[in-house]
Each structure stands twice: as C-alpha cells, then as structure tokens.
C-alpha cells in the first residue's frame, strides 16, 4: 500500500458527473471517475447537520475503482499509531470482496465541509471514533460498489446477476467458468443503477473483519523511510527553533542576539511579541544560537502563578452548585436516610502529552499563498488558523499532512502551525520550526486539572443508596468546539462521570466550568474519562471498603442492568486470579469502565516497597468493544493505553511555580520504561454489537485499578494522582 501525501489543491473530488444519488436522504453517490472507472462518494451520517437538513448531498469520503483495478480510498482520518490505516480499509475490502492489498489510501485534503468526522462534526481524528463513525457507511459503500460491478458483468455476459458472484477483485460466473476483473468493469459499473437496498454480509461470513490483519503502515517505519512532519525537507528549507515566553501571557522585553548571530550556520533571529526564534542551516546551529541569546521577559499577569493557586480555586468552585449533568431520584433524601456516609475530595493533575515527535511545522509563505507540511489530527483546523495568522483566505493555504509521531490530543491543536506561520512571515523561503523537548513540555496545552467533591450513602446492607459528585475544571470543548458547550455542560467533561453502569437509584452529578488562568488546556488521550473514571472507580472502591465487601463482588451486585459490564468484570476477575492471595506488600485492584462505546474491566497487581516505591507487575484486561475489526489492533491499543495510563499514575504531573512549568524534559517529566513495564494480558469478549472505540479506553481505565491495588497492598487511599511514594513509605 502506498500512502499519498497530496496537497489540497491537486484533488478535485467533488466533481462527480452523471451521478445517481441513492435516495433523497442518501449517503452515497455513484458516478464515473475522472480518467475512467467508478467513483463512490459517501456522505457519512450525523456529520454535517447543515447538509443533512438541507437535503443536499455533501460527500466526505471517496472510493475510486480505477480501470486498472486499483482501489483508492480517500479518507478523513489520520494514522498516529492507532492502526486506523489498516482497520478502515478492512471495512471496504470486506464488502467489496477484494484483497486488503488492493486498497490504497490517500490522505484527505483539508476541507471541513467534505471531511467532517461524523461523530465529532469537524475534520479531526480523536475521541476514539474512526471505526465507530465509518463502520456502517464504508461497508455499505463497499457492498453497493460490489453490486454494481456484478450487475455490469452480468449485463456484459447477458446472464442473471444472481448467477454471478464477486471474489478477490473479480466477478465470476461459475456456471460458465467466466471471470472478469473489477478494473475492466469499473467504467460500465458507473452506468449501472444504484441498488435500492444494500445487503451487508452476515458477521459469520466475514473474511477480514475480526481476523488479525497486518498493519499496512509499518514496513516504512522499520527502515527509516517513513516521513513524519519533522522529516520533510522542501528545497532550500531552513531550520528554526524557538524560545517562547516562559510564563503564559508574557512578552519579550529585550533581546541581545549579538552572540547568537555569530554562531556558524545561524542565518537570522526572529523576534515576535512573545517568542524569539533562531533560523539556521541546521537544528544544531539553531539550538546553539538559541542558547547564546540573552532574552529578558516581561512575565505579565501570571508571573506568580502556582499550581496550588489553581487547585485552591477549584476546591472552592466545587463547593458551589454547578450545571446538573445527570440526576436520578432524590439524592438529598436518600443521603439523609443512609446508614453510612462516605465523602472524599479528589485531585487530578495537569498533564503534558509528550508525544515522541516534538512539536514542529514547516511553512513556506509566498506572496499570496502559504504551503504547510505537518502531522496533524485536525488538518482543517490547521488550515483555518494558519490562514488567519497569514492573513490569507483558507483556500490559499495548502496543507500537506504527514505521519504523526504520536498525537494523544496534542495534534488536535494548531498553535504550532500558527507559531510557524508567524516565524515564516520573517523568513524568505521555507522554514521548518522544530520545538526543543523543553519547549514541547513547557508550552504544551495540558490535560486540565480537576477537583471532585464526591459523596455517597450506603444502606444497612452496604448497598449505595445515594451518589453525589460535583467537579470543577476546564472545558476543552468550550474553546475547541464552542457549539458543543451548552447550558454549562459538554459531553466530554462529563463522560465517565455520568451514565454509570451501576444501578444507583439516587444519583446526581454537577459540573462547574472553571478556566485556570495562565495555562492552556487541551484534549489528552482518554479525554474526560481520564479523570472521571479515576474518581468514580476509586470511589466505588472506597464504598466497597466502607461496606466491608470484596471490590469485585460489591460492583457485581450493582450490575443487574448492565450485562456487558458484568461479563467483562467476571472475565477479568477470573483471568487475573482475583481470589488468590498475594504476599504482604502486594495487592490487586479492579476497575470497570464504560466509555467510548466499549466496556473494560481490568485488574492491576502492584507491589509497594518499604520506601513507598510502586511496581506495577501485571495488568489483566477483559474488553467488550463490540464487533472487533482488527483484533491485533485491539490488543495493541489496550497495551498502549495501559502503559500510557500507568505512566500517568506513577509519574504524570505538570506543576507551575512563578508562572513557569517546572518540568522540562524526560528527566523531570518521566515516562514508564522497558524495565518497569508490567506484563499485560488482554481478553476480548466476542460480541456482535457495533464497534466501540479502543484507542483511548485503556488509559483512563487503568489508573483507578492501580490506585485501588495500592490500597489493597497498603491500606492507603490515593485521592490525588500521581502516586506519591512519600505517602506510601512505611514509618521506620
């Protein structure tokens, strides 16, 4: 397979001559492709409300079957390690009856109207929804194309289409032993009527879906040929690196660049309002030049800001009533009659993304157009914000998307592209702006800090009769997708805090939006659930302890209405040897999560040393993510999410002092390493439900399991992440 990185202007996909629309409210348009062949244009549902409402057909994904038999899928999702470039083509190949190798992928050019992600409503890859959005329409498109190809062959042979079948990229007529390849039929198929009804394969007939498929993007990643954003080298490109105001909202007061200018290879110093960049022949010279700069900063209004200030403000905010996200029954009455009451205050820290590929963006700004090379989860956002920064209309901004060296939400933001445009405005020719790791960590946009005040009441039997959770923190949606924030609520901030799997008769969750001063916030792998599941599942554990019940048994008793949740819980308990005793200083913890359309239960096994050091030994997961497209990717993403979450649980914390982020590189913002990596077992539940998301689930799910395991090992309840060994240290 080849992944084409092609530019926005070179593709004119909307032009579909002599098209047949499936229905007035249809999602599929079929016609002749430019240069011969069959072109299917899909309008993925829910995405563009305006288009749906207007009854006009606005396609946002395309399948082209060329007269050479090549099948090209132009898709709006990006690859950042999550396996989308393999699993999405599987959906089409399955119904079209072609080999996975026959499907070639092209990146979609940035076009918000055409490529809106159906669940996000904007062109972006995030929130674990690529497969969820594509599942029905891409299979339907594949099936429609197959039906039309069969019809074209049947007409050619003058036989009944029912006597033909499709297989491995050709149509066969078994009675006469004739066959003809798709490529030779593509042009004729374009003139066939679009099927009124599309019959999808039965799950038991799947050949590709549900079987492990080899990743299509990986061969280029073992030999150095894969091109990430940071690897692009347009002719004549200069390399720049930068220092941004160490305090958010600060300004450059003065710059002495005399020493930097004489560094060999340094070409130019660019001074912006709140940053200074050194432009050079190579990054070595740019970094050396940067180190030689003497910059004085005006720190601005946040010069004295600390994390404690922000935490205190959130603590106070959570005392006020907020927007009610969900309410069931009468919490106050039930709480008043409860036999046992449990209250807790939870804190979740700011976190940086720290993708392995540091932030970078390459820009060539010409007189009336702008060309950008970047790895982005949200190309249309890059295009729009870069256009604004450059003072151009969006169609004058060409964005080439490249592989992402990790996204995790960081690359849903376009601040890096805006910064690169600002620098390019002072540079003649193309310039690649590469952030140092220190800049990347100290000028990230962070997972918000959250504070939860949570309480519950138990009856005489220890069953929860009241649940009251009120939390305060930043709403990323309110900034990133303003229409998504309504009546004080957004669907991301509350996911994992509401619609719990447990049967809780009196239940209330309130959210108070508080934007912290002096620190930008953003989506971070597992988004809202990253904090909500930590709080909810830690607190359920607290209730089990208060009721003096087993943590699995306590949960299980509340799952009569959630058979899928109960099934994964039972499986995780069984596979993890939940009931087997562990030596002193070790413990098991469980957590249960329903988020992103998938159910996960996991058991963590930890060992805590006398000095409080935590070693995560073993993680066992049972997952029901509905129909599994590529089981190997499900395994890989759970492993990945668990390591990401374990890293956060043990080490993850961004703190501010004097308005400055205190962490700067992997020595102070630590990552889990090979020698610390736990054994991970993933058990997938067979399911024919629609597919759920998988890329983020493990990250949020594992944190409370680890915290609960530490409680089991030490009796200490950790209500603030990350784990603090000083708290766990045994008194001497």
């Amino acid at each position: 397979m080849v992944i084409d990185h092609h530019a926005s202007r070179t593709t004119r996909l909307g032009e579909v001559p002599s098209a047949n629309v499936l229905s007035r409210r249809g999602f599929l348009q079929v016609g002749a492709a430019a240069g011969g062949g069959l072109m299917l244009s899909l309008s993925l549902p829910f995405g563009n409300r305006e288009a749906n409402a207007a009854d006009t057909f606005v396609p946002n994904a395309f399948i082209r079957i060329g007269s050479d038999g090549q099948i090209v899928l132009i898709m709006p999702y990006v690859e950042m390690g999550q396996g989308t470039y393999t699993s999405i083509p599987m959906l089409i190949a399955e119904e079209l009856e072609v080999d996975l190798k026959q499907v070639r992928l092209e990146h979609a050019p940035p076009n918000e109207k055409l490529y809106a992600n159906p669940l996000l409503g904007v062109q972006a890859t995030g929130n674990s929804n690529a497969i969820r959005g594509a599942w029905q329409p891409l299979r339907q498109a594949g099936a429609a194309a197959r039906t039309m190809l069969v019809a074209a062959a049947a007409k050619k042979w003058n036989v009944d289409p029912a006597s033909c079948r499709a297989q491995s990229g050709e149509v066969l007529h078994p009675p006469t032993g004739r066959s003809i390849k798709y490529g030779a039929l593509a042009a004729d198929a374009a003139g066939m009527p679009v099927p009124e009804k599309i019959a999808l394969k039965r799950p038991q007939d799947f050949k590709l879906i549900g079987t492990p498929a080899k990743r299509l993007d990986t061969p280029a990643k073992v030999n150095g040929t894969a091109v990430y954003g940071i690897d692009v080298r347009p002719s004549g490109v200069k390399i720049a690196t930068l220092a941004q105001s160490p305090v958010f909202g600060g300004r450059v007061k003065s710059v002495d660049d005399s020493a930097a200018k004489i560094v060999k290879g340094v070409r130019q110093i660019v001074r912006l309002d709140d940053a200074v960049a050194v432009v050079a022949d190579h990054m070595g010279a740019a970094k050396k030049g940067l180190a030689a700069l003497k910059i004085e900063w005006d720190d601005g209004p946040h010069a004295k800001l600390t994390t404690e200030d922000i935490a205190r403000e959130l603590d106070q905010a959570a005392l006020r009533s907020g927007a009610v996200a969900q309410t069931i029954g009468d919490v106050d009455k039930a709480m008043a009659s409860a036999v046992t009451k449990v209250e807790a205050l939870y804190h979740a820290p700011f976190l940086a993304h720290a993708a392995m590929e540091p932030m970078n963006c390459t820009v060539h700004l010409r007189k009336d157009e702008c060309e950008i090379w970047v790895g982005s989860q949200a190309m249309a956002r890059v295009q729009a914000m870069a256009a604004k920064a450059a003072g151009l209309s969006p169609e004058k901004v060409i964005v080439h998307n490249h592989l992402l060296g990790g996204g995790f939400g960081r690359r849903l933001e376009a601040d890096g592209a805006v910064r690169a445009v600002q620098i390019a405005q002072h540079v003649d020719g193309p310039v690649k702006v590469v952030w140092t790791r220190e800049e990347d960590i100290q000028h990230d946009m962070y997972r918000p800090y959250w504070v939860d005040r949570i309480s519950a009441g138990l009856d005489a039997k220890g069953r929860p009769v009241a649940w009251n959770n009120r939390f305060a923190g930043s709403s990323v949606i309110a900034r990133w997708l303003p229409p998504g924030f309504k009546n004080g609520l957004d669907p991301d901030s509350t996911e994992g805090a509401i619609d719990l799997v447990y049967d809780l008769p009196n239940f209330r969750v309130e959210y108070i939006r508080v934007e912290p001063p002096g620190i930008p916030t953003a989506f971070w792998r597992s988004v809202g659930p990253s904090h909500n599941v930590f709080v909810t599942e830690s607190f359920v554990d607290e209730l089990a302890a208060a009721a003096k019940q087993d943590a699995v048994g306590f949960r299980r008793a509340l799952l009569d209405k959630s058979p899928r949740a109960r099934a994964v819980l039972d499986l995780a308990a069984e596979k993890s040897d939940w009931v087997k005793p562990l030596p002193n200083g070790s413990g098991r913890g469980v957590s249960l999560q329903s988020a992103f359309g998938s159910y996960l239960a996991q058991v963590a096994e930890v060992e805590v040393s006398k000095n409080g050091a935590v070693r995560v030994r073993r993680l066992v997961c049972a997952v029901d993510c509905g129909t599994v497209v590529n089981p190997d990717t499900v395994q890989a993403q759970i492993q990945s999410g668990f390591i990401f979450g374990t890293t956060a649980a043990l080490y993850g914390e961004i703190t501010l002092k004097d308005g400055r982020v205190e962490q700067s590189n992997f020595d102070t913002y630590q990552m889990l390493r090979m020698n610390e990596a736990p054994a991970i077992e993933v058990h997938i539940v067979n399911s024919q439900e629609p597919p759920g998301g998988i890329g983020e689930t493990g990250t949020s799910a594992i944190v409370p399991a680890i915290a609960n395991a530490i409680f089991a090992a030490t009796g200490k309840r950790l209500r603030k992440m990350p784990v603090d060994p000083a708290v766990l240290k045994k008194p001497t």
Partner: protein, 151 residues
C-alpha cells in the same frame, strides 16, 4: 571547518562547528531523517545510531568526536544480518504503532543482539530501558527481540 565522516559505508564532508551533535548532521545536513530527535539530552534513545557497532545517542555526540569511526543508521541497519532479523521480528510481532521511536529501538535492539545473541529479560531491560516508547510497545519489543534471537 570541514570534517569527513563515514556514514553507512560512504564518506561525507560536512562543514559545521565541531561541537554540532551528530544527530543534526545526519538529519539536516545529510538528509538521513530516519534517525529521530526526541529529547536532545540522551534521555529517550530516539536518536540511537551505531558508532563502530556501539549503540550511541547521536543527540549528544559532537561530530568532532567521531573521527574515522563507522556510523550506521536505521537506513542501513537492514543490510546487516542481525538488523534484518530485528526488522522482520518487528513486523512479524506488529510491534509498531506511531513508529517514531522505533528507529532508535531497532538500533538498540540490534546492538544488543550483536553483543548478546541470546539475551535474558534482564539483558533486555538493561539494553532497552534507555529507549522511551510513548505508545507503550514494550511488551511487543521484548517479544520481538526474543523472536529475533531464536530465529
């Protein structure tokens, strides 16, 4: 000052300051972008290359410290028997996700197998713990090293 360096069997003359890290000479001067920048402080291993077969963090290795040593990068590691075995094991075991750190992982792993053809888990921990993978592919890296060692 022009310096002559040996990279993947070829001699290149580069005109940079002597304290320039090898990483930037490879990536920005010679265009060998398979070697990755991750931290600039030898904390993450993304920039690992071989210098006379020794795994070396190119981000802190000054170009004038190399002399006539042979540098091997990810672009050429597949030409060695061990490198090819590691690459194959990486694909067989579907180790890779985003892939950005994997050049460095493969360079560290192939150096490990060159010195210890049958590494223990402790050997793997020692050799590989300097390489960070943010996608968390450690479980599969370990399996792939064992496969390459046994195959």
């Amino acid at each position: 000052m022009a310096l002559a360096i040996r990279v993947n069997g070829n001699t290149h003359s580069v005109d940079v300051d002597g304290d320039t890290p090898l990483l930037w000479v490879l990536r920005d001067v010679l265009g060998l972008t398979g070697t990755k920048f991750g931290c600039g402080m030898a904390l993450c291993g993304a920039c690992t290359v071989h210098v006379n077969g020794e795994p070396t963090r190119s981000c802190i290795t000054p170009i004038d410290s190399i002399g006539t040593s042979e540098i091997t990068t990810i672009e050429a590691i597949g030409k060695t028997a061990i490198g090819a075995k590691i690459q194959k094991a990486w694909l067989d075991r579907e180790v890779i996700q985003c892939g950005y750190c994997q050049s460095g992982q493969i360079m560290s792993a192939s150096a490990l197998l060159a010195s210890k053809p049958n590494p223990t888990d402790a050997d793997i921990d020692d050799a590989m713990s300097g390489n960070i993978c943010r996608c968390g592919t450690y479980v599969r890296i370990r399996e792939a090293i064992k496969q390459a060692a046994s195959g």
